[in-house]
């Protein structure tokens, strides 16, 4: 019987700039009686990683450019927030209504470029980690050093989608696992050769973890056990980014 468990890691407390997230995770797991295993996946909310890495900005210290002020008026957004979004972005993909969809320097296409004012304190905004794969590798190394086990680590964030309402969580950084399961060229039970069978496992795990994290439940770390992931030391979220040249919606 195939069974996956998704377990909230509680009592992480308030994460501050300079904190080592991997050590906090190990301490919280220990208090909860959780023994980590190499085949586990730990999903860590982007927000606490950004806090630990000092990626918080006081909005009233931001000087909006003329472009940011104009976009702020057009989209009914705080011009300081728009300034941060533009600084995080390579280019604007779409704008309209109150939405500003950009391609970030990492290559993510997302609303507001991952800049987010929730769960960080009034008047503050959190930026995505500069290199969330590197953040995930650091967290994983800290966990390995502390516990002797090297679970995979996914850093997750909530992204909107075109066509469908509501956010789902996706991976923005990955360490220690393959991000996709590629079954192209293998055959189904009828002998039909699968053609489109690439599954974004890391995104599905991030989505599953959000069901426990919630948006305001104070559970920024979730253990996912039993997924049968493929371990890969040099795993990266880049496996999940569709090249712009092959993308029909960019």
């Amino acid at each position: 019987m195939k069974r996956i468990e998704i377990i909230g890691v509680e009592g992480m407390g308030e994460v501050r700039a300079g904190d080592r997230v991997g050590e906090l995770v190990c301490a919280a797991c220990a208090r909860q009686g959780i023994e980590l295993a190499d085949d586990d996946v730990l999903v860590v909310a982007q927000k606490i990683v950004s806090k630990a890495e000092g990626r918080l900005v006081n909005l009233n210290e931001v000087q909006p450019s003329a472009q940011a002020r104009a976009l702020g008026r057009e989209l009914d957004k705080d011009p300081a927030l728009v300034e941060l979004i533009l600084a995080e972005s390579r280019r604007i993909v779409r704008k309209g209504g109150r939405a500003l969809i950009v391609e970030t320097h990492h290559g993510f296409v997302s609303a507001n470029g991952g800049v987010d004012c929730s769960n960080v304190g009034i008047g503050q905004a959190a930026l995505l980690p500069k290199d969330a794969d590197a953040s995930a590798r650091t967290i994983r190394a800290e966990i390995r050093q502390r516990s002797g086990k090297a679970p995979a680590v996914i850093i997750s964030d909530s992204f909107g989608r075109p066509w469908r309402l509501g956010t789902v969580d996706v991976a923005v950084g990955i360490a220690g696992m393959k991000a996709v399961k590629d079954e192209r060229g293998t055959k189904d039970g009828y002998g039909y050769e699968l053609r489109a069978a690439v599954t974004a496992i890391a995104d599905e795990i991030a989505a599953a973890a959000e069901l426990v994290m919630g948006k305001k439940d104070g559970v920024p770390v979730v253990l996912v056990r039993g997924c049968g992931i493929e371990k890969k030391e040099e795993g990266s979220v880049k496996e999940l980014l569709r090249p712009a040249a092959e993308d029909l919606f960019r």
Copy 2:
């Protein structure tokens, strides 16, 4: 401690036209010693629902139109398959490379309009259920009648995404639960009023279930326990469809 379990329901066997999926689910659960509960969610792969509803087509019985033949040449696709895709669609949203992205009569924007040749037998294609909310309600009613319990039911399918590689599973039909969790207007732990906090819970549950289903593991039904869903008799996948007028990518 918040914990979700995702359990594969095994031994469903080959589903045939006219089968009652809800009764098959109850029988498989009973053999496996699973007692269903009202707060459970059963995720059922679209493919077996389409089989039960006779939504399979022999490709060699399809007469491709001139438009389907031209598109088939342009996109290197079987013209019979293209004919089925066009018949399922309101309109073409994008085409390019080998991809044909359409808006289906249900309002889903998806590659190939949900028409899929995997896991159905060589030379066959499965169409999405005509009304997968109705299919989910029927399955739920059969389960309620057989077991006395009324878990929520999600019918799932694998969808590609723009910008990101790989498919994730999403809900195409829903019964007995709210599809989204809407926390707009509530406050986070710092007193900040959440603005974009609508979470596509049903899609996250479908994604989580896929981790157990796989593409060729013969596990088309998955029990998800512990999500804390909000029950809603008249739940519908329509809650998840972004109105075309508000969509920047259509």
